[in-house]
Amino acid sequence: MEASEVSVELYVLLSAVLFIMGVLGVLLRRNAILVFMSVELMLNAGNLALAAFARQWGNGDGHLMVFFVMTVAAAEVAVGLALIVAIFRTKQSINIDDLHMFKD
């Protein structure tokens, strides 16, 4: 049985849409955790594009990169959540609009 073919272009298009959603999320959201999730969405959009291109080129470079991106994203989450917890303890808020101690 042959699986139906979905062209690479569609995957890349989907990844572009996801990436833009991630960027908009970072720019528009005010809750630190949601901002953070949007960043993860951007990284995963990159992963999807990498996997799609890896299929098109038929080599492993893309897959290799995907694994590294996932690992690094996990490391970033560890640091990011720790920071959010620390900030919540001192400020009782994780709204990034409350971060405005420095001014020109």
């Binding site: 960043v39 959009a45 990498l50 470079d61 690094v72 620390a86 990034i96 420095f102």
Partner: protein
């Protein structure tokens, strides 16, 4: 199916300065567990010793006294051990050594003497070194994160101090945002060229330049997004917003180290990707690279904004935050110059020279600020340097030297750096941007020399705290700044050997 490579094929010997330090860092992480809280000077000494061994090795390899390993490629092309990576190693390790020296007593002062500081600093240094040596976009990405993640933690090292936490949070969110762009940029470059190896990309771009328009677009967008990702790291306008806030809020010893380390890593990566990887990517019939105009425009804006906004600052850490933005602009000129065929190697040399000069000078500046800073983080306003020349004449003299060097006055290292950068711009026919560079240097004299004026000609009470390691760090930075300025031969000779392993 797969052949397992033997250890001999990996060419480990050529990577020794980096791999030794990597093992050392992991070892210190364990050793530190057994060092009691009141004896953290042991960790500091171990770290300094590790950095020292690596530094000596890199210097010997840079000057060609020892040539270990077999050729310039290691780990199957993932790691490039050429003269450029050795120069990056030397700059990064020098900064790390000075970074440990300025940190030790400062951490006591702010009551945060913990072993974590030292090995996080080592991991960041490793990130910088791997970045300079990356021969593949995968290595580049992973080392960028190895450079960034410990820096996020270090910026927040003074928690639960609010300013430190806030700076860490800002740095983290914007840094993660930037790495999102970098990943997507890498994906698109891979989509256009079919490989993540920089050598492979270099070979593929020649065909793309004369090929289909759609592939060109893919590569162009990919290059643009990579530029956004790396631009955040080096604080280029318009991706500079985090810099002043992070510099102001983070512990000063971290800023002293990070202001240089992040730049060394970021510019090394820019040279590798733009100067080598896609240096021959031209649009229809152009002789220069497609990205050259964009980068020199960014360089111009970065220099103008950094220098003009710095004039209005009264908080020293913030002022030097903007000053570091301005200096990113000067180095970007050289990156732009790398886009002209035949100038690539000269531009890579200029970047290496500038980074070396900047390393000595900028760590020195922040070391002086550490000496001025009080326990509660106050004392870093520009008013606090008033009268420094009467109470601490030597410290004031060192600061004056650093200010001259940042302005780019002859006989200092900063002048040599700017000289080579502007010269590479001339070779690449980028006269307008070189002119902007010279003019903004004149503007920068206004706020740098104002500090000198305050130190020598204004009355004021100063309080300084100058423990021995800090005094040594300032001395080394001052001597370095002066020697490299008086004998530019040292720098140019060191850089002479630098040719990128491919490209040009």
């Amino acid at each position: 199916m797969f052949e397992v490579p033997g250890l001999g094929d990996l060419n480990v010997a050529a990577t020794l300065p980096v791999t030794l330090l990597a093992f050392g860092a992991c070892l210190f992480l364990l050793v530190d567990l057994f060092i009691p809280k009141d004896r953290k000077y042991i960790t500091a000494w171990l770290t300094a010793a590790g950095i020292g061994v690596s530094l000596v090795l890199s210097l010997l390899m840079l000057t060609g006294v020892i040539t270990w390993g077999d050729g310039e490629e290691a780990f199957f092309g993932l790691f490039i051990a050429d003269q450029f990576s050795q120069a990056v190693n030397v700059a990064a390790l020098l900064t790390a050594l000075l970074g440990v020296m300025v940190a030790y007593n400062y951490l006591d002062k702010i009551d945060r003497q913990r072993g974590e500081y030292y090995y996080l600093l080592l991991f960041t240094t490793l990130g910088v070194m791997f970045m300079g040596a990356s021969g593949d976009l995968v290595t580049l990405f992973v080392s960028l994160e190895l450079l960034s993640i410990p820096l996020y933690i270090l910026s927040g090292f003074r928690w639960p101090h609010e300013e430190s936490e806030e700076s860490a949070m800002k740095y983290f969110i914007l840094g993660a945002f930037a790495s999102g762009f970098l990943v997507y940029g890498i994906a698109l470059i891979y989509g256009a060229t079919g490989t993540t190896s920089l050598t492979g990309i270099w070979e593929a771009t020649a065909d793309i330049s004369s090929g289909e328009t759609s592939t060109k677009f893919l590569l162009l967008i990919g290059a643009g997004m990579t530029l956004v990702g790396l631009g955040f790291k080096v604080a280029a306008v318009p991706f500079h917003m985090w810099t002043p806030d992070v510099y102001q809020g983070a512990p000063t010893s971290v800023v002293a180290y990070m202001s240089v380390a992040a730049k060394v890593g970021g510019f090394a990566a820019l040279v590798r990707v733009f100067g080598a990887g896609i240096s021959n990517f031209a649009l229809d019939g152009d002789t220069t690279a497609a990205w050259q105009d964009t980068i020199w425009l960014i360089a111009a804006f970065t220099m103008i904004l950094g220098n003009f906004v710095a004039i209005a600052q009264s908080e020293l850490k913030r002022l030097f935050g903007y000053s570091s933005i301005a200096h990113a602009g000067y180095m970007l000129i050289a990156i732009a110059a790398a886009g002209s065929a035949g100038v690539t190697d000269e531009a890579a040399r200029a970047v290496a020279i500038y980074l070396m000069a900047y390393a000595f000078t900028n760590v020195g500046v922040f070391a002086v600020i550490i000496a001025l800073e009080k326990k509660d983080m106050s004392g870093t306003s520009i008013d606090n340097v008033k009268g420094l020349a009467t109470s601490q004449p030597l410290l004031a003299a060192a600061m004056t030297l650093f200010m001259f060097s940042l302005t780019g006055i002859p006989l200092t290292a900063g002048f040599v750096g700017k000289w080579f950068v502007f010269k590479s711009a001339m070779s690449a026919d980028l006269i307008p941007v070189a002119v902007i560079g010279v003019l903004t240097s004149l503007v920068s004299a206004f706020y740098y020399l104002r500090i000198v004026w305050y130190m020598y000609f204004e009355e004021g009470e100063t309080e300084t705290d100058l423990p021995r390691p800090l005094a040594w760090a300032i001395t080394i930075s001052a001597v370095g700044t002066l020697v490299l300025g008086v004998v530019p031969y040292l720098l140019s000779e060191m850089a002479n050997e630098i040719t990128l392993a491919f490209g040009g």
